[in-house]
Symmetry: C2
Subunit: 241 residues, 2 copies
C-alpha cells in the first residue's frame, strides 16, 4: 500500500490537476474575454450558467447533510446563505445573477424558470449534484476545490466585460465582484478539510478524481454553449440550428 | 382541469414527439449510414455507446424496484436478462456489444472498463438512471418508449454496415440483428402500461416530458461524439484536440 502524500505534495497534485483542467482555458471563455461574443452568445452563457448557480446551494445542502460534525456544518453553512440570502432575500448570489441576466437584456422570469437550459448543460450540472450525493464527504468537499482558481477568472472577467461589453451596466457585474474574497475563504476552508481527512493515498487519489470530474462538468457546460451558439450543430429534426 | 386524451390521441402525441426527436436524425448517424465515418469515429461510437448499454439493466432494475405489482415485475424482468444473460452468461446484449467492440478493432477490456468514455456521454447516460430513479414508475416506463423507433434504425444500420464497413465481420453485428423483435415487444408492453396508468392529462403530459428528456439524452450522446471526433473542440489545456 502506498503511503499518503505529505500536505505539500498533495496540495501540489490537487493544484496541478485543477489548474490545467479549469474552464478558464476553454475557447468560449477565450472569446468572451477577447470581446468576441455576440450579445446572444453572452446572454446564453448567462442563462445556462444560471442553472449551474441554482445547483450550488443544493449540493452544499447535501454536503451539510453528510457531516456528523456541528463544527464542520457551522463552517459550511454560510455557502448556502451566500447564494440564497437571508430571510429578507437581498444581495445574495442567485439574486445578483438574475440581476446580471437583466443586465444583458434577458427576461428575469425566463432565466429563473430554467426552461431554456441546453440539455447537455442540465446533464452536467445535475451530475455535480449526483457526484456530491454519491461520494464520501471528503470527496464531495474536494470537488469544490475548483474555487481555488475562480478569483483570477472573476477578476479577468470584470475587466474584460467593462472593456468589451460596456452596454452591460457596471453595477450588473456585482456577482463577479462579490465572489473573489468568498472563493478564497471557501477554498482555503475546503483544502484544509480535505488535507486533514484524506488520510490514505487511496483517498487522496479519490479526492483528485472527484476534482477532475468537477472540472469536466464545468468544461462540458461551456462545450455545450460552444456547440449550440458558436458552431451550431443540428437540432432534432435534422435542420442545422 | 383538462380531460385526459383518448388512447389514440395520446399514442399519437407520444409517437410524434418521439419520432421527430429520435437520434436517427442526428448527423453522426447520417454520416455512419452513408459510410462516411472513419475507423476511429466508428470505434469511438461503439466505445462510448457501450457506457449507455451498461446503464440499461441498471435503470431497468430501478424500474423493477419501483413496482409493487408482481405481474408487472414478471413482465419487465426479461429486459435485464436480455442485457446481462443467464447465469451461464452467453449471448446477451452486453456480451454481444463487447464482441462488436472487438469486431471494430477495440480492446475488449478497455471498452468494458468504461474509462475512456467522454465526460458528456457519461453525464447524459447517468442522467437516464437519475431520471428513472427520481420520477414515478409510469414516467420511468414512458422514458423507455424510444424503443418504438429502434427497429427501423437497427435494420438500417445492419444494411449500412454490411455495405460500407465490410471490414467489420458480419457475425459482429449480432447485437443489431437481435434487437428489433425485442424492441417491438418491449415498446408494445411499455406503451400499454403507460396508456393504462397515465390516467390524468397532467400525467400524460409528464410522460411525454420524460420521453422528450430521454430523446435529449440519446441525442446528446452523439452530439458529444460529433464535437470530439468529427469537429473536435479544445481539450483542457487549450490545445485543439
Amino acid at each position: 500500500m502506498k503511503a499518503p502524500l505529505s500536505r505539500e505534495e498533495f496540495v501540489e497534485w490537487v493544484t496541478r490537476e485543477g489548474e490545467s483542467r479549469y474552464h478558464d482555458h476553454h475557447r468560449y471563455h477565450a472569446l468572451m474575454h477577447d470581446g468576441k461574443l455576440t450579445r446572444v452568445q453572452l446572454q446564453q452563457w448567462v442563462l445556462n450558467r444560471y442553472y449551474y448557480q441554482t445547483r450550488v446551494p443544493i449540493k452544499d445542502a447535501i454536503i451539510l447533510s453528510k457531516s456528523e460534525d456541528p463544527l464542520f456544518r457551522r463552517m459550511w453553512i454560510h455557502r448556502i446563505r451566500d447564494h440564497d440570502g437571508d430571510e429578507g432575500g437581498g444581495e445574495a448570489g442567485l439574486e445578483l445573477w438574475l440581476r446580471l441576466a437583466e443586465g444583458v437584456g434577458l427576461d428575469r422570469e425566463e432565466v429563473a424558470s430554467c426552461r431554456s437550459v441546453l440539455p447537455g448543460v442540465r446533464f452536467a450540472c445535475d451530475a455535480y449534484v449526483t457526484l456530491v450525493r454519491e461520494r464520501s464527504l471528503v470527496e464531495a468537499v474536494a470537488s469544490s476545490l475548483t474555487e481555488f482558481f475562480a478569483p483570477d477568472l472573476m477578476t479577468k472577467r470584470v475587466l474584460a466585460w467593462e472593456k468589451h461589453y460596456p452596454w452591460v451596466g457596471e453595477e450588473m457585474l456585482a456577482y463577479f465582484r462579490s465572489r473573489p474574497p468568498k472563493a478564497r475563504r471557501d477554498s482555503n476552508e475546503a483544502i484544509d478539510f480535505v488535507v486533514r481527512h484524506a488520510a490514505t493515498y487511496e483517498m487522496q487519489e479519490r479526492c483528485v478524481a472527484a476534482l477532475i470530474r468537477k472540472t469536466e462538468i464545468l468544461w462540458h457546460l461551456v462545450d455545450c454553449l460552444y456547440a449550440a451558439y458558436i458552431d451550431p450543430g443540428w437540432g432534432p429534426g435534422g435542420g442545422r440550428a
